[in-house]
Amino acid sequence: MPLLVSYSLKNAFARKLTGTLTVAGIALVVFVFCAVLMLANGLEQTLADTGSDKNVIAVRKSANTELVSILVRADADIIKSDPAIVREADGTPRFTGEVLALIGLAKKSDSNIVNVNVRGGSAASFLVRPAVKIVQGRAYRPGSSEIIVGSKVAKGYWGAGQGEHLTFGGRDWTIVGVFEAAGSGFESEVWVDCDQLGAAFNWPTFSSLTFQIAPGTDFVALKNRLESDQRLTVEIMPEREYYRKQSASFTTFIKVLGMFIAIVFSLGAVVGAMITMYGAVANRTIEIGTLRALGFGRSSVLFAFLAESLFISGVGGLIGIALASLLRFLEISTTNFDTFAEIAFSFKMSPQIALQAIIFSLLMGLIGGFLPAVRAARVRIVDALKAR
């Protein structure tokens, strides 16, 4: 058996050009396969990480995003008094009412004007999201026309850097700081004082209420308590789940598209592998005859050729995965269908994706190599030895 394995491995690249071309084909297919999955994974992770396990968010019932959710101040006062909410030493609840709006900014990459989230928050907005850190300048002063921008906004849009000015809602806003938020979706947002944003846009309402609940809180009970309150029309969700849901349309779309592309591409690669393996079988008819004459059975020959094909596709798969891993240094930005806002994220590799990719590549090798291997196994010794 070890002999056959080394025979297969050595043969795989006996034809340098042919072997290389086949490997390249499979690598390219696996690369595209990984890239698509990494794209979906990148957005999903970025959004999921935007929410925190400790936080709960309330939006208006049946509003799937903050953008179309409207809650009045009275709603906030009712929810704020719930006993499950963590309180600071002075007794104020760790609770923030926020208003979300979209403003148009010009992207640096193509100068297209796209929608960017503007989040009007309060001092507690920073308390419930400890990941948010000012990395340049300082926080906005409440009650002023000052704003801070996420690092992705500062980097990705014209006129959105530290010290620059943005105009919206009939006001001129000064960018006094840039913040990071551990790579989450907040880095694609502009933050401002809620009351100032509300005044500028004449929106005396909230889009969402976010609060931290004490460890060990029974979430289901809390949800039932607030959702069944006659005075409220709200939906209560763990913050993490809420943000993860925001990626649903996009990831579904990308995954469906990705499957279509992967299948079509793999058909091409399978054909390539088949051609190579049929060629290998045809060229080595005498060798096959010799092996058989030496006493190797048909199944051994079948195995040897399948192993060769699997080896070629496996190498291609690994190269494809390695190339795709490089994509994680690439940052892209697109409009999220669910929120209508632009969000920046990176391609993200995961062990599952790598595993799927390697299975996918071996499958291509198996399918591409099977028929040629069967042909090799069926060669008759006598015919083979007089082949030339």
Binding site: S69, I103, G104, L267, G268, G272, I275, T334
Partner: protein, 386 residues
């Protein structure tokens, strides 16, 4: 002509290998055409626009509104023929998965500015009589099995509450390939309820639709209209209808560029497959080429033989791919996407590019084997075993 015969014979020396290669090429060309057609479908709404329509929306972004009072100001601008308005309704029909575009429009003027939506006169009359009437596209009605007179409940989000609508009209597109997936309900019905529950939001419009008499003045008039609202609480951005529609397409710009890259990569995959086939072929025939050279064949004859064979295989793959695309895959795609993208149509340009890229692949795949065949000396070629 004899060379042509030789090429044909050569092509069929390995029927299995050739068949597989043609098949691979056909799949790649099909994929290429499908991806391009999908991208085209994305842009279809922006192509169906009219040059003498301008759209005015709030400068900040589309979640902000334009007050009703701006209509009178715009009407006074010289060259404006008519003004209508609309807003995005949002809302959910039973399940978020049943997404479709829901607009609320001015029932008196909207359809006058959009002659591409054809509504039977009696249905239009019914729409104008009843506040909770709605006109839906034919394909949308088919998708959910709605008939005239059906009551459809939408759960609102931007405009909170439950909204019961009666289907009073079904429009069809004036031209083949119009978007028949829209929902047009009456603005006044929604506005009336907003006046009760959220008075600050009453009389607020999503965008104005402005018909102008001379499309060549679109740019000048856009500026003129925006100047009317400078320093007001709702500054505006006026653009042609096409630019408005394109701004939505461009939101998915990154995905579209991604798809374009993928459509090129699929050609790359198949280039590798064909190059492999040609490399194997040329390798097997090195002795033969040496013989041909001895017989007096010049390098250009060999180039013709190999490139000709490669292009013949590629061309066959291209043609099979096109047939597959036009008669099998596109009709399938049309059914699959009909609920989401209004128009799925294969354009001549896509077909030309599909075949064209196959031929380019055919040429490129032959380069390396040709160089090898030409370079190998007669003696080396004849000495070659295997």
């Amino acid at each position: 002509m004899k060379v042509f015969k030789l090429i044909t014979r050569n092509t069929w020396r390995h029927p299995l290998r050739t068949t597989l290669t043609v098949l691979g090429l056909a799949i790649a060309v099909t994929a290429f055409c499908v991806i391009r057609t999908t991208i085209d479908a994305w842009y279809s709404d922006s192509r169906a626009t009219s040059p003498n329509i301008l759209i005015t929306l709030n400068r900040v972004s589309l979640v902000f509104t334009v007050p009703m009072s701006s209509i009178e100001k715009v009407k006074r601008v010289e060259g404006v023929k008519a003004v209508s308005y609309a807003a995005w309704f949002g809302g959910t029909y039973i399940d978020p998965k049943n997404f479709f575009a829901k607009f609320i429009v001015d029932h008196n003027t909207y359809f006058d500015l959009y002659p591409q939506w054809v509504v039977p006169p009696d249905q239009m009359e019914a729409f104008k009589k009843e506040r909770n009437a709605v006109i839906v596209g034919r394909k949308l009605a088919d998708r959910f099995g709605w008939k005239l007179g059906d009551v459809v409940r939408i759960v609102g989000d931007i405009y909170p509450g439950n909204w019961d609508y009666v289907i009073r009209g079904i429009y069809t597109g004036a031209k083949e390939g119009s978007n028949e997936l829209n929902w047009f309900a009456r603005y006044d019905y929604v506005d009336e309820r907003m006046r009760e529950i959220a008075p600050s939001r009453a009389g607020q419009l999503g965008w104005l639709i402005i018909q102008i008499d001379d499309p060549s003045k679109a740019a000048v008039m856009s500026k003129e209209i925006d100047n009317l609202f400078v320093n007001s609480s709702a500054e505006t951005k006026t653009q042609t209808e096409e630019a408005f529609a394109l701004s939505f397409v461009e939101m998915s710009g990154t995905i579209i560029s991604g798809l374009r890259i993928v459509s090129i990569l699929v050609i790359g995959v198949i280039l590798l497959v064909l190059a492999n086939t040609m490399a194997m072929t040329a390798r097997e025939r090195i002795r033969e080429y040496a013989v041909l050279k001895t017989l007096g064949f010049l390098p250009r004859h060999l180039i013709g033989l190999i490139v000709g064979e490669s292009i013949m295989i590629a061309g066959a793959g291209g043609v099979v791919g096109l047939l597959l695309t036009a008669f099998a895959v596109i009709p399938l795609l049309e059914t699959a996407l009909s609920d989401f993208l209004p128009v799925v149509r294969l354009t001549p340009l896509t077909l030309i590019l599909g075949v064209g890229s196959a031929l380019v692949v055919g040429f490129l795949a032959a380069v390396f084997p040709t160089a090898q065949a030409v370079r190998t000396s007669i003696v080396d070629g004849l000495r070659m075993l295997d």
